[in-house]
């Protein structure tokens, strides 16, 4: 989750970082109370501007996913199950939206995409 | 700071300083080797003085060589990479130059002292005929001054850019050309000799080199 970011993507870097952490929290990979890497560490590791990491952490804090404690670091908050669910579905919707717009660009209709979905996933979707 | 500058200077000019010091110590001893007897006849005295005189040229040459080696080593690296490291160091430039200059001077104390010690030993070991005297102190002072002058000359030259060196060389070249023109046009003025004489007589910069480099003299 703290691996590469894609600077070429239209999604801003801070957003990329924040959303990855959000997913990790929603998926339970990051348990409440656990501390996130320090800004210095993450910035150096991802080779991004420390300000970008701070911005990502601020965004997460504003959403209530993490808590920034002065002087000691950033910690994962207790997030309700409903919240986790909605985050997961929001992420999923975002993926699908991207997929649909890409499909539109290639001249595929929503029906084509849905058919493909069904074909790929078999009966699971039903 | 000075210690580090000194350390690098030492690293670059070890050979010059060490060899210079060894030769400087040995030279006076070789000068008096087999020096005469106390009641020497005039022919022996003459021989002794001639020997002294034949050794005399090696002292200023040694001073020049040591000055050249240490003086130019101060900037060889900067010349090689065509960038002066010190320009990006946080101290006023004049201060850095003086520190570099001082570092070379400190190292040059070794050959100077070596010569003084050598001259002292030689003077006390030699039998000086009556009427002659040994001058170890005068010789050492002369050597020290000559080394410092030579060092300063080469330090100043190598402190310059290649363009400066070019200017110096073209002035020398111009003098030679003018001299040749004189020669061709039948003039008898010898410009080179005149300039050289100016340099080696008071108050020219090389006067110290042209003096009497005699350990034993009247």
């Amino acid at each position: 989750m703290f691996s590469e970011v894609d600077p070429r993507s239209p999604t801003p870097l801070y957003d990329q970082i924040a959303s990855r952490i959000r997913i990790a929290i929603a998926a339970g990979d990051l348990v409440p109370g656990r501390s996130l890497p320090s800004v210095r560490h993450l910035a150096s590791r991802l080779r991004v501007n420390p300000a970008t990491v701070v911005q990502a952490y601020r965004a997460l804090a504003a959403d209530g996913f993490v808590e920034m404690r002065q002087g000691s670091g950033t910690f994962v908050c207790e997030v309700g199950t409903g919240r986790k669910e909605s985050e997961r579905s929001a992420q999923a919707r975002q993926l699908v939206r991207g997929l649909l717009s890409e499909a539109a660009r290639r001249g595929l209709s929503a029906g084509d995409v849905a058919a493909a979905f069904r074909a790929e996933l078999g009966s699971e979707v039903e | 700071m000075f210690r580090e500058i000194l350390r690098t200077q030492w690293k670059w000019s070890t050979i010059g300083v060490v060899v210079g010091a060894v030769v400087a110590f040995a030279l006076p001893l070789m000068t008096v080797q087999g020096a005469g007897t106390a009641d020497a006849r005039w022919i022996e005295v003459r021989q002794l003085l001639d020997d002294q005189r034949s050794w005399a040229q090696w002292y200023p040459l040694l001073a020049l060589a040591v000055g050249l080696l240490v003086g130019t080593s101060a900037w060889t690296n900067d010349h090689r990479v065509r960038h002066v490291y010190a320009l990006t160091l946080p101290l006023p430039r004049w201060r850095f130059v003086l520190l570099r200059y001082g570092a070379g001077l400190v190292l040059l104390v070794a050959p100077m002292l070596a010569l003084a010690v050598g001259a002292g030993v030689a003077a006390s070991a030699a039998t000086v005929p009556s009427g002659l005297h040994a001058y170890p102190v005068a010789l050492s002072i002369r050597f020290a001054l000559a080394v410092v002058v030579a060092y300063s000359i080469f330090f100043a030259i190598s402190s310059g850019t290649t363009r400066t060196a070019g200017y110096v060389l073209s002035v020398v070249g111009a003098v030679v050309v003018v001299q040749l023109l004189f020669r061709v046009s039948g003039g008898s003025t010898n410009l080179l000799t005149a300039i050289f004489d100016r340099m080696v007589t008071w108050p020219g910069p090389f006067e110290i080199f042209s003096g009497r480099w005699m350990l034993i003299d009247v």
């Binding site: - | 005039w42 005295v45 009427g131 001054l145 008071w202």
Partner: protein, 370 residues
């Protein structure tokens, strides 16, 4: 300057006879102080020169045209194409000799001197003339200097035996140069003999003896103390064979402590010992004397009848002997070499240059912003 062209038969077989320079003078009775007498003598010499030349020309069938160049008593026979060059040589030689020796001094010259260049190898010279071969025709000035030196040598050869034994062969008779005086200074201050020390301290009589200007039966004692004599005998006296055969009672006496034996021994073996001051010191004295005497000094030296060399040199110089010695001593002491000890001027100048150079290093364009 006058040059007389002598027409002669052509002979192309001897082109090598190039510049034939004939310096001719005479040794016969030299008292030509007054001009008329001098001129008369010169004229007679000229006539004799013509005779010699005719003899040479006849002998060798030299047919090429020959010019004569005259300078005072100097006469040069030259080949026309070298006339200009050798006329210049003659000018310079004559000037040198005249100022050095005085015009009449040349009359001391005891023989004729032919001077010829190296390529005149087929020339046969009359037996009664000195000859001098110029090996290289370079600058007229150098040729003239060589020639003048040679003539001086020839003149000295013509002087009496006393003078020649006092100083066998002076290098030149021009005035004392500083380098020569400096060398004599070294002798003066380093000679370990009591007599020289006294001379250095200012005893003019001691100087006179050191320079071998006095005559005495026991010269050795005039020069050296008994102790010095003994040391000398011990150091270098007697051959091994002599000593082995005990044939040298004086040697044995001297080393045994007999002072008289030492001087006897040394007077008998004069080759072992010379005057306390070297020949170059004597030569320097001669030069000072001639310089003080000015024109004609060498002539006066040759004619003087004083018994001791000191007296003769005093006559040549025209000043009393002791004044001459004092003058010589001052000249020598003044020629002391530059001090080994560094003078303030030298030291401070060196330091000033160091400062200037250090300043230049500081002001290097490399340190300023380009």
């Amino acid at each position: 300057m006058c040059s007389v062209r002598v027409a002669s038969r052509m002979n192309a077989r001897l082109p090598a006879v190039g510049a034939l320079i004939l310096v001719c003078a005479t040794a016969s009775g030299l008292h030509a102080q007054d001009a008329a007498q001098y001129r008369d003598k010169v004229d007679r010499l000229a006539a004799r020169l013509e005779a010699v030349r005719a003899q040479v020309l006849a002998k060798d069938s030299i047919g090429s045209p020959v010019d004569t160049v005259r300078r005072g008593p100097l006469r040069l026979l030259v080949r026309p194409e070298r006339q200009a060059f050798l006329a210049e040589v003659a000018d310079i030689t004559w000037d040198t000799l005249a100022t050095m020796l005085g015009a009449d001094t040349l009359l001391i010259l005891g023989s004729h001197v032919f001077v010829h260049v190296a390529d005149d190898s087929r020339l046969r010279l009359p037996p009664d003339v000195g000859q001098y071969r110029i090996w290289r025709l370079g600058e007229p000035r150098d040729v003239a200097a060589d020639l003048a030196r040679f003539i001086v040598h020839t003149i000295w050869e013509g002087l009496d035996a006393t003078l020649r034994s006092w100083l066998s062969n002076p290098a030149g008779l021009d005035s004392l140069s500083n380098t020569q005086a400096e060398a004599v200074y070294v002798d003066l201050v380093t000679a370990p003999w009591e007599l020289v020390k006294a001379c250095r301290a200012g005893d003019l009589e001691a100087c006179a003896r050191s320079l071998d200007l006095e005559v005495a039966d026991d010269t050795v004692s005039l020069w050296y103390t008994a102790e010095e004599q003994r040391r000398r005998v011990e150091k270098g006296g007697g051959t091994w064979w002599d000593i082995y055969n005990r044939k040298l009672p004086d040697y044995i006496g001297c080393t045994g402590g007999d002072d008289a034996a030492c001087s006897v021994y040394l007077n008998q073996h004069r080759w072992m010992i010379g005057a306390p001051l070297s020949a170059s010191a004597r030569e320097s004295f001669l030069r000072v004397a001639l310089e003080v005497g000015g024109e004609g000094a060498l002539g006066r030296l040759a004619r003087s009848e004083a018994p001791a060399t000191g007296g003769r040199l005093s006559a040549a110089a025209g000043v009393p002997r002791d004044s001459l010695i004092a003058l010589w001593r001052d000249r020598i002491l003044a020629a002391a070499p530059a001090q080994v000890i560094i003078t303030g001027a030298t030291g401070w100048t060196a330091l000033a240059w160091v400062l200037v150079l250090a300043f230049l290093a500081l002001r290097s364009t490399r340190w300023r912003n380009p």
